[in-house]
Symmetry: C2
Subunit: 135 residues, 2 copies
């Protein structure tokens, strides 16, 4: 019954709660509707996040344009910021906006480690904490 990537989704949900967000995973089956759902939905009263979760042991991943379009559609209606949360193995979580992804020749998306580290936000940055203030 468990979805691919659900370990990472659970980890991310825990991290978000630890950062004073309320966070919820999508149900394993789409269930009620054919509507696109993000993997994780979170809010802290100010910021609302809809996150598509990806993880890989390689140095790049491909994402269907359908997934990204669905993420953007949901986020737009719900009133959330759409992000791709990427966990490269042994690396920190990084969060990218859909517009930061690279488009492939067949109109899907590619995200490699260089791009992720160049454009991605760490969780603290995503949720607006000033990392400079940490000791």
């Amino acid at each position: 019954m468990s979805k691919k990537g659900s370990k990472e989704e659970r980890d991310l949900v825990k991290m978000l709660w630890d950062s004073n967000f309320a966070a919820m995973r999508a149900p394993a089956s789409g269930g009620a509707t054919k509507k696109p759902l993000p993997d994780v939905l979170a809010g802290n009263g100010k910021i609302y996040l809809a996150i598509e979760v990806k993880s890989t042991s390689r140095d790049k991943i491909y994402i269907d344009s359908q997934k990204i379009n669905g993420l953007c559609e949901f986020s737009d209606i719900f009133g959330a910021r759409p992000y791709i949360g990427i966990k490269f193995r042994y690396k920190k979580w990084l969060f990218l906006s859909p517009e930061d992804l690279e488009v492939t020749r067949n109109d899907n998306y590619r995200l490699d480690m260089d791009l992720a580290f160049k454009k991605g936000l760490e969780l603290d940055e995503l949720i607006g904490k000033d990392k400079q203030l940490k000791f």
Copy 2:
């Protein structure tokens, strides 16, 4: 694997999408955390709703205080309005604020049909549509 009440949750999620909200059910298993999750979470860019779904073929239901406290806690952190969505069989959905529930002698909550119809909002009212404008 399906939760009690999931048919009603699915119906409600569909109604919310049809009313221009993006809506998502909670996963069947709490999963990631022991954190309290609402049955349904929805937003339309302006209003965010966390809904505990109840249905019954009787004329009243009892709700554990733990459920209501959890709903309020999640809503407070996430930034959503907490509601109990009640579906009495053959009746319309009605939505009540936690503070509108009746407290029982052992500190749980009771909601009967009289109270629901007196204090409850219909979906259109909940989402701020002016019913007067409908033809």
